[in-house]
Amino acid sequence: MPQNKILILFAHPLFEKSFVNQELVRHIPFSNHITFHDLYEEYPEFDINVKHEQNLLEKHDIIIWHHPMYWYSCPPLLKQWIDMVLEYDWAYGKNGNALNGKSIFQVITTGGAKENYCATGKDRFSIPELLEPFNQTAKVCKMNYLPPFVVHGTHKMNEEEVFNHAKTYAELLLFLTKNEINSEEINRNFYMNEWFLKIKSNG
């Protein structure tokens, strides 16, 4: 059975104050097939080592941008990462095929509730709509962009709920390392969470 290697690019400028993300990260399984890469810890001065990042990307099959949602986007260092690492002729362009065929998706936490993220809600747009720029970035890099794994409502979440989300995240990661990615099937879902729930209930 083919094993997928997962690279988690984690970006949180105030990780020490985010209980939800601490739990999510704490539950990431120890595995030769999962690399956890803490961007803010690695590059506190934003001096990203592009070669190193590209090497990491080349060694993995599934890329995860794991970050909180700030102002409908990612934290600044992740944007910096995107700007610097995804180079022309490496990630995109006629000869830029380094990421061709790899899968990518986002793991997002939001303070607000899921209901807010729709045309009639406070935030007016759905999460996938807001993530379109990331989707498009992945497309340009010939990657296979999958729906996000989202944890909503972190502002008002009790510990048990947090643990449940963290456990699901861990299970998802393990599942993805061991199984072939069926993009078509996953893409039929709004969130990665929904698809994985179905898989789990199907046993």
């Binding site: 949180h12 104050k17 506190p44 303070g111």
Partner: protein, 623 residues
């Protein structure tokens, strides 16, 4: 205290205040200023002071004593051990070489007794620690190869004075010496060998009492937390040691030097330095005024040819002996010329040895006075010799002020000038060069200049406080001037000259620390870079990280701290003057620290922004 004292004080201080700044303006060393001040007020020009000049000299010799105490304090035994080869090698070669050549010449051409000749040869072989060290400091040459060698030679001479003064009495043991002439020494009634023994015992006693008595007493005094009491103890220490040495007929300077070495490793080193330094500076100034005043022009006029020729010959002898040593130690021509001219004079120890020998009747009075005039003249000649060397000799033999080899490059001026290419300046230069910006470099270490030219840098060699050099280096066309000289005083004077003559220049200035920065702020300098700020904050950030803080948060705290500290230093710089604390003494520095620490308590760094922090939001939601 009668009016005479005040008038004297006014004359001395006024002459110093008038002459020293003029000398500085003319680009001469402050020593020359003091010497001229002495000549002007002395009996042969204005006659404000008469024969009391000699009394003043005795008093002012204490400046030399204090200087040696400070030299001793600076002398880390480890450093001494590391330099032992140079101290012993260069030092003994210089002293023995010069003394022997002078001795032979005198014996050949003059009909002096051999004792007289030995004393004179030894007296003239010693150089002037005061002049050389002051010159090195002012020219910022202390850290160059010639600076270190000069220090080694001077140190050997300072130490050699002990045996020299111990040997001189032995030379007269056979002849009839009038005990009355030696009342300055308690032990002069004894046999010569007992005297020598007592001298040795005293030196050992100074060493042990320093360890066993002085340091515990200083500890006690420090506990009273009375600054002036500490200053008093420091002075008492120096005076007492000097007196003790005088009792046994030795130079007080040596005693003070010894006391300094004994205390060099104690925790009071810096405090003693801070307390004694102002006295030293003032008394040393007085000493040089005294030297100027005591030059007996009458003797010179009576027999000018003898004095001038003798002075010239012995200076030449010392110069060539030193030059030979420099060659032996493979010094480059520039360094060797500076080294040889710098140490070519006779010095204050010459006075000490001569007056000591005069008391022992080894020297006839007139000859001793002539010799003193010669020593004074030779001390006077050093700054001029160095000037002549810098202007006319060195340019032909040594590293050129500017590099003439590449004529095509000379016309094109760089936008950036870096003054001082030590560890600090060179880092800047490398960063600029890595980015394709070539800078013009000013430096006064000829060995370094040579190397840099070989590496293809455009380098001007010389003193960056000289306006012509700045002009030659293209200060008129440059955009940015980086003042990165090691010596903060030199750096400051460069900045001042630039602001006056090249107001268009964008000046970026290095400051060693907070005290330097205050000084620069006082002079209206805008862009100040403290060496001790950024590195220390960087280290602090890493320490926070090692303690488990997130790297990014720690980095942001560091950035905030730098901003806060840079704002604070400007506020405190202004405040400093309210308290009239112009001199940054050790005490002030501690006060400054206290002020800083107190201010820090009022600042809550973490509360200054709320980026990415949802704490407040959550609170509102739950309300």
């Amino acid at each position: 205290m009668d009016n005479g004292f005040f008038i004297q004080a006014i004359i001395y201080l006024t002459s110093a205040i008038v002459c020293v700044p003029i000398a500085k303006k003319l680009g001469l060393s402050s020593i020359l200023g003091y010497l001229f001040a002495g000549i002007f007020i002395g009996p042969f020009v204005l006659g404000f002071i008469g024969n009391e000049g000699e009394d003043i000299m005795h008093f002012a010799e204490f400046g030399v004593v204090m200087m040696l105490f400070l030299i001793g304090l600076e002398l880390d035994p480890y450093k001494f051990w590391k330099m032992r080869k140079f101290i012993l090698g260069m030092g003994s070669m210089q002293l023995i070489g010069s003394a022997i050549v002078i001795f032979i010449l005198c014996q050949l051409f003059l009909d002096w007794s051999w004792q007289t000749t030995v004393v004179i040869a030894l007296a003239l072989s010693l150089s002037s620690t005061a002049i050389v060290l002051q010159t090195l400091k002012e020219k910022g040459l202390s850290q160059t190869s010639m600076g270190r060698s000069s220090f080694a030679v001077l140190l050997f001479q300072d130490i050699a004075v002990i045996p020299i003064l111990a040997i001189i009495p032995l030379m007269v043991s056979g002849s009839t010496v009038e005990a009355e002439n030696l009342h300055s020494s308690l032990i002069s009634d004894f046999d010569a060998w007992i005297q020598t023994l007592i001298v040795a015992a005293t030196i050992i006693a100074v060493y042990f009492s320093g360890r066993l008595i002085v340091i515990p007493v200083l500890r006690m005094v420090a506990k009273t937390r009375l600054q002036e009491l500490f200053t008093a103890s420091a002075l008492l220490l120096v005076v007492a040691v000097s007196y003790l040495m005088q009792l046994v007929g030795l130079s007080p300077a040596l005693g003070a030097f010894l006391a300094g070495v004994v205390l060099a490793n104690s925790e009071f080193r810096h405090e003693l330095e801070g307390d004694i330094a102002p006295f030293k500076g003032l008394l040393l100034g007085l000493f040089f005024i005294g030297v100027g005043a005591s030059i007996n022009f009458k003797l010179i006029i009576d027999n000018p040819i003898f004095i001038l020729v003798f002075g010239a010959i012995f200076t030449a002898v010392k110069f060539f002996v030193l030059f030979g040593i420099g060659k032996f130690y493979k010094k480059s021509n520039d360094q060797n010329l500076l080294f040889s001219f710098g140490l070519s004079q006779a010095g204050e120890f010459g006075f000490v040895i001569l007056s000591f020998s005069m008391q022992l009747n080894i020297l006839p009075n007139i000859l001793a006075n002539q010799m003193m005039a010669i020593i004074a003249l030779s001390m006077l000649s050093t700054p001029f010799l160095l000037l002549i060397n810098e202007k006319w000799i060195d340019p032909y033999f040594g590293v050129k002020e500017k590099d003439n080899r590449k004529h095509d490059e000379i016309d094109e001026h760089n936008e950036v000038i870096i003054a001082g290419f030590g560890h600090f300046g060179s880092t800047i230069g490398r960063l600029l060069r890595a980015n394709g910006v070539s800078a013009t470099i000013l430096d006064n270490d000829s060995d370094r200049v040579d190397l840099l030219r070989k590496m293809g840098f455009k380098v001007y060699y010389g003193d960056a406080t000289r306006l012509e050099l700045l002009k030659a280096a293209g200060a008129e066309d440059a955009k940015i001037f980086i003042a990165a000289i090691d010596n903060p005083e030199v750096n400051l004077s460069v900045v001042e000259i630039l602001r006056k003559h090249f107001p268009h220049l964008n000046i970026l200035t290095r400051a060693r620390n907070r005290v330097d920065a205050y000084e620069l702020i006082d002079h209206g300098v805008d862009k100040i870079y403290r060496e001790t700020l950024y590195t220390a904050v960087h280290l602090g950030v890493d320490a926070l990280t090692q303690l488990g803080h997130r790297k990014y948060s720690a980095t942001r705290q560091g950035q905030r701290f730098i901003k806060y500290d840079e704002a604070a230093i400007r506020k405190l710089a202004a405040k400093r003057h309210d308290k009239m604390a112009y001199l940054a003494t050790v005490k002030d520095e501690i006060e400054m620290q206290e002020q800083l620490l107190k201010n820090d308590l009022h600042i809550n760094f973490s509360a200054s922004d709320h980026a990415w922090d949802s704490e407040l939001l959550k609170k509102q939601i739950s309300e």
